[in-house]
């Protein structure tokens, strides 16, 4: 039994926990403001907000694609559709700004945009780029976005003006949220926890890929959520960072400790899917899914991460690079789950970079992605780990290239020699994301891009032309 609040209504449903939230909203509840656009998280027309009480006891809302959300995720939470944002007699200021700027034409995508952008009121930062990022997962085919961009900057200003800090009371008094939001926290606290000894066959780690291809099958299935099996914490201790498998991409990207370690973390992660997907998709899910271009896998392979795998009380630890065995084949036995991942915190003379190129820069699957971590001592490469996606059946750790470069002096010539090794250990295939010829060239470029970006005094674009 799943119990939650849908807009201002207390809802109890006996639907299988794996069934899709979008269907419940439209079919069971006839809330037709939430649209069906693609059912694969690529258009944002079905976006809803999910409010939950975080560890600090604060009610926060995140946007998700309801087409990829199992209804289990709604338990003890507040699901907000466009109907739940509407005020009785007037538009919210966000709706008003969209109207004023003609940011709606056919109107089909509009509720999704309004929901996503209202979600940005809960962002820690309400800069224009953060507000824009909240709608990076929403597609509009009519407006050409100019009017939507203009709306975004006005909304960013509105959020600043309303003294926004994600506080519900401030948002309700600014009319951005209806008054009933004030009581939601208490109402959520009254909903009992779901039974914790549930032991379903399927554990969903976000489901943002699973539900693209298999949502119909899961309509009738009971599932457990990854958060019931492992946490989503991120801790840094004794030079080691541990990320629990239930951490979402957003949890990682917005973690202040990690941001101080990787100053460009946010810009790297903005290249990874969309806000909605990042709010849902988890580290564990991304690794187990084992897509050859998995962004998180590529990112953490270069950090030479280890993963902890548990089976009841048994725990084993392996390097992430040994986890991927073949196309969608992983070193995970029946009953095992990934608990967490650990990597050594980069030190002062260690450098990291992540690159990704896709047909469309945002919310697209990489043609090729790559990451590097490199340690320099006395102008020599003391340690190096490079990874690449889209060039093999698995997210690839570039073992030969990394070991070739290790110990070498950091020179343009050695970097170029490294590429000769690299091209022998990749095997890209031609597909809809690019020809093999392109992927080979692109990885070459991204390989050099790492060095050109990190060591511009050592190598430049002229060296590879």
């Amino acid at each position: 039994m799943i119990e939650f609040i849908l807009n201002n209504e207390h809802v109890v449903t006996e639907l299988p926990s794996g069934s899709i939230l979008l269907n419940f909203i439209r079919k069971e509840k006839q809330l037709t403001g939430t649209k069906i656009g693609c059912r694969e998280g690529d258009c944002g027309a079905c976006t809803v907000l999910i409010g939950s009480i975080d560890q600090q006891g604060k009610l926060i809302y995140k946007s998700v694609n309801s087409c990829l959300t199992p209804i289990a995720s709604a338990h003890q939470r507040h699901v907000v559709t466009i109907e739940g944002l509407n005020l009785k007699d007037k538009l919210t200021p966000i709706q008003e700004i969209f109207k004023k700027n003609n940011a709606t034409q056919c109107g089909f995508c509009t509720p999704g945009f309004i929901i996503s952008i209202t979600g940005s009121a809960f962002n820690s930062d309400t800069s224009i780029s953060s507000v824009m990022d909240s709608i990076g997962g929403n597609i509009c085919r009519c407006t050409g976005y100019s009017s939507i961009q203009k709306s975004s900057s006005e909304i960013a200003q509105l959020l600043v003006n309303s003294g926004n800090n994600g506080s519900i009371s401030k948002l309700t008094s600014a009319g951005i949220l209806p008054e009933y939001f004030l009581n939601i926290q208490n109402r959520l606290l009254a909903i009992p926890n779901i039974s914790s000894n549930s032991n379903n066959k399927y554990i969903v780690g976000g489901g943002t890929d699973l539900y693209v291809s298999q949502s119909a099958e899961f309509e009738s299935k009971a599932i457990d959520l990854i958060e019931s099996k492992c946490g989503n914490g991120i801790t840094l201790n004794n030079g080691v960072c541990i990320i629990e498998a239930g951490a979402s991409a957003t949890d990682i990207m917005e973690n202040n400790d990690l941001i101080s370690l990787f100053t460009e973390l946010k810009s790297y992660f903005k290249l990874i899917s969309s806000k909605q997907i990042r709010n849902t998709g988890t580290l564990g899910g991304n690794l187990v899914n084992a897509s050859p271009i998995a962004d998180l896998a590529i990112f953490f392979l270069a950090l030479n991460s280890k993963i902890s795998i548990s089976n009841n009380d048994n725990l084993r630890s392996i390097f992430l690079k040994d986890f991927f065995k073949g196309y969608k084949l992983i070193d995970l036995n029946e009953g095992e789950i990934i608990q967490s991942m650990a990597f050594n915190i980069p030190e002062e003379n260690e450098y990291f970079n992540f690159e990704k190129v896709s047909k469309r820069t945002h919310l697209d699957i990489a043609s090729v992605n790559s990451a590097i971590k490199i340690s320099i001592r006395n102008n020599h490469i003391s340690e190096i780990h490079i990874s690449a996606g889209g060039v093999a059946p698995i997210p690839l750790y570039l073992k030969n290239t990394s070991s070739f470069l290790k110990g070498k002096e950091l020179t343009s010539q050695n970097i170029r020699k490294g590429h000769c090794v690299l091209k022998e250990e990749i095997s890209p295939i031609s597909d809809v994301r690019g020809s093999d010829v392109y992927k080979k060239l692109l990885l070459k470029q991204l390989y050099f891009a790492h060095f050109i970006k990190l060591f511009p005094e050592k190598i430049s674009i002229a060296d590879i032309k």
Partner: protein, 750 residues
């Protein structure tokens, strides 16, 4: 005035077909379609699927009571396959079940065996086999055969442009409901209510008056719902015919992409000749249009390609031929621009190729050869009120494009990793359906006895705000508050025999009909007011909800005069018909005056390439556009911005990929990318041209739907120049879209 639906749109209250509350007992339909591109059906076994609990019926071609034929221009397309299949996604059977999920399960249980034939996928194979939709069609001006020897420069080449998925956010859908006496009411997401009605009647073997088509609004269409909304509408009516229950069909995104046609890909051989002083003397082009497996709208699209083959230039000797090639792909269809963007890409590629080889900017060739008043288009229409010169000057005055060109050069001189390019795209776009017969519309205007107004037209609202414009027309003629005016749904029982909302002409045709109806009512109201005020009707006018005589206000209000008219037994309803004057076209000689007027414009695009990664950003698109006298500048600007970005998508990232078996590989939003908020130009600046407008346009406000799509073409050539700035070995080739892959391969080509 804002789009009248704005409030409902931002609150999610606007109703689309799938949002209409369903009547209890409604059934749901799913289409079972061909998985091969060409072959014979050996066995079709629906028995397992039929036995599934909750499946009501599975219908095939044998269940069609009338003609199994949905072709609108040429009758060459069946609704449900009979013996053979001709494209992947061709409907074979319709599954009707109590729920959508049951119908999907049943689809998995249908068994089919094919004898597979070799499909034809590309246009070269089709042409070699003379596999055409219609005989090749040519436009001719002057005498091309003799002029080549007079040319100082001749350039030949190939230009290719790809297909494009419409990706309207609302997928295709319909909801049909049985009425008494075998009549059917259908809600359809269609641009062409009459097409649905006519084809529905043909397939069901009933008369058109038995089908009532109602359209509230579309969640985007862009041409994709002009003809291709019809199959799903007719299928739901077929199910209603048999089952006498309400039936809804909403295509999933996957089925929509899989089963519906797209923009036509083109491959074109061209040859262009210039005099010593760089005047264009001759242009010859053979366009191979990939029409897919059936005609659909391809004959009309063929025509528009020919009409726009010379874009904004005067060329005295022209011979252009379109081969509409029949292949085993989904029948391709209308998409904003309707064959014109493909033609404009070719002539602009020819110019770019020539300019590159001569060693001058393409802009100079464009300027030298611009069409001027009294020049002839290749189809015989004499150019009048050409705005190009004025546009060019306005662009120079506002943007100082010599300065922009210099900035691009300077930037390239001082940057190694980043390179910029710039391009100019002028646009000359003919407005009217090229099929003269379609250029008419009707409107029905009721004034209710309380003074409120209800308007029905044949216009379909799909985001272009045509309904808003209709209200503006009525409130302008009556001089009443726009709040008094309501636009009704588009319904074939109120306004019959409509042309589809297409060809950028909807506001002109329907708006003129509304204007006419309102004026007819106004004459009657003036008579009533004249009697009441004992004044001459000619001295009466309406202003701001009041009657005025000889320019002086009276106390007589709109509401009072309406009541007076009603009480005097004067009709407060009017139905008017408008047909575009002047236009004609004689296909036997391919000459005439097909367009009510032309829309002109210019876009200047600059872009920056990251030469390490092959990615790019569009720095700016600066546009001067001929709106005429826009009746709604904000809404018209929105059309420009939206069309531009769609054009940019077509030129950069939207890549339709088939394999050699005709399987669509770019079959989902995860692998077919359209522009998102990050992929749009950093600056879009639109300067409206100051002009008097055109009498044939509604209130002199020119059509704006399609012409600005062509501005998006500029990015292709800007990127080429940026590539060349990095790599002087780059060979200009013309094969759109310019994906990051092509950019990178170009940057490092040897």
């Amino acid at each position: 005035m804002k789009n009248i639906d704005s409030n409902n749109h931002v609150q999610g209250k606007s109703i689309f077909v799938d949002d209409i509350p369903t009547i209890s007992g409604t059934l749901f339909g799913t289409i079972f379609s061909s998985s091969i591109a060409h072959g014979k059906i050996i066995k079709l076994d629906i028995s397992n699927a039929s036995e599934l609990d909750g499946v009501t019926a599975i219908l095939t071609h044998i269940d069609i009571p009338g003609e199994n034929q949905i072709g609108a221009i040429i009758q060459d397309e069946v609704l449900l396959a009979e013996d053979e299949v001709h494209f992947i996604g061709q409907p074979i059977a319709l599954i009707i079940a109590e729920s959508e999920s049951i119908s999907l399960k049943a689809r998995e249980l249908i068994e089919i065996d094919f004898e597979e034939y070799d499909p034809i996928v590309n246009v070269q194979d089709a042409k070699n086999n003379e596999h055409f939709i219609l005989p090749p069609r040519s436009f001719k001006l002057g005498d091309i055969s003799k002029v080549w020897e007079d040319c100082a420069f001749i350039f030949e080449g190939i230009a290719k442009s790809g297909g494009q998925e419409h990706l309207y956010l609302e997928t295709q859908g319909s909801y049909a409901i049985p009425l008494e006496n075998g009549n059917i009411k259908i809600f359809s997401s269609t641009q062409g209510p009459t097409v649905v009605q006519k084809i529905g009647a043909r397939v069901l073997g009933i008369s058109m008056n038995q089908i009532e088509v109602d359209v509230k609004r579309l969640g985007g269409a862009f041409g994709g719902k002009e003809d291709q909304a019809t199959p799903w509408a007719v299928l739901s009516m077929l199910a209603v015919y048999h089952l006498q229950k309400p039936v809804k069909i909403i295509l999933s995104r996957h089925d929509d992409i899989y089963m519906t046609g797209k923009r036509h890909p083109y491959e074109t051989n061209y040859k262009i000749g210039f005099s010593e002083d760089l005047k264009m003397l001759a242009f010859e082009a053979e366009y191979l249009q990939n029409a897919g497996a059936a005609a659909d709208l391809s004959p009309a699209i063929t025509e528009r390609t020919l009409f726009h083959s010379t874009n904004s230039y005067f060329i005295p000797n022209v011979r252009t031929t379109v081969y509409s090639c029949k292949t085993n792909l989904t029948p391709n269809t209308a998409f904003r621009g309707f064959g014109a963007p493909q033609a404009i890409f070719v002539i602009e590629s020819a110019i770019k190729n020539a300019a590159t080889q001569i060693g001058i900017p393409a802009r100079e060739l464009q300027e030298i050869n611009m069409i001027v008043d009294n020049d002839s288009f290749p189809y015989g229409q004499i150019a009048k009120n050409v705005e190009l010169k004025k546009i060019w000057k306005t662009a120079q005055d506002n943007f100082n494009f010599y300065k922009i060109e210099k900035e691009v050069c300077d930037f390239n001189d001082s940057n190694d990793n980043l390179k910029k390019g710039i391009s100019f795209i002028p646009v000359t776009f003919g407005v009217s359906f090229t099929n003269t017969m379609m250029n008419h519309a009707r409107a029905l205007v009721h004034i209710y006895q309380d003074g409120s107004i209800g308007i029905s037209t044949g216009a379909v609202e799909m985001g272009q705000s045509v309904n808003t414009k209709m209200i503006q027309v009525a409130s302008h003629v009556f001089s009443v508050d726009s709040k008094r005016v309501k636009i009704e749904s588009t319904n074939t029982t109120r306004v019959a025999n409509t042309s589809p909302s297409a060809a950028s002409s909807t506001a002109d045709l329907n708006g003129k009909a509304v204007e006419k109806a309102c004026n007819a009512l106004l004459i009657r109201l003036k008579e009533v007011a004249g009697k009441k005020l004992q004044a001459e009707p000619e001295s009466i006018d309406f202003k701001d909800e009041l009657v005025i005589t000889n320019q002086k206000d009276t106390t007589l209000t709109w509401e009072e005069i309406i009541w007076e008219a009603f009480a005097s037994r004067v009709s407060l309803s009017e139905s008017s018909h408008y047909s575009t004057p002047e236009i004609n076209f004689d296909k036997s000689i391919e000459k005439g005056h097909p367009f009510a007027y032309h829309v002109y414009g210019l876009a200047i695009t600059t872009a920056t390439i990251d030469c390490l990664r092959g990615t790019h950003v569009i720095d700016s698109v600066r546009i001067v556009h001929d709106f005429g006298k826009s009746i709604n500048q904000e809404i018209d600007n929105g059309q420009i911005e939206g069309a531009l970005v769609q054009g940019v998508g077509w030129m950069t990232m939207e890549e339709i990929v088939h394999n050699n078996k005709g399987v669509l590989l770019s079959n989902a939003l995860s692998n077919y990318k359209v522009p998102d908020i990050y992929s749009v130009p950093e600056l879009v600046e639109i300067i409206p041209l100051e002009t008097d407008g055109n009498e044939n346009a509604i209130l002199k406000s020119k059509a704006v739907g399609e012409p600005p799509f062509n501005y998006g073409i500029g990015i292709y050539f800007a990127l080429q120049d940026a590539i060349y700035a990095f790599n002087s070995n780059y060979k200009y080739d013309f094969d759109a879209p310019m994906t990051p892959e092509k950019v990178l391969l170009g940057l490092y080509s040897k």
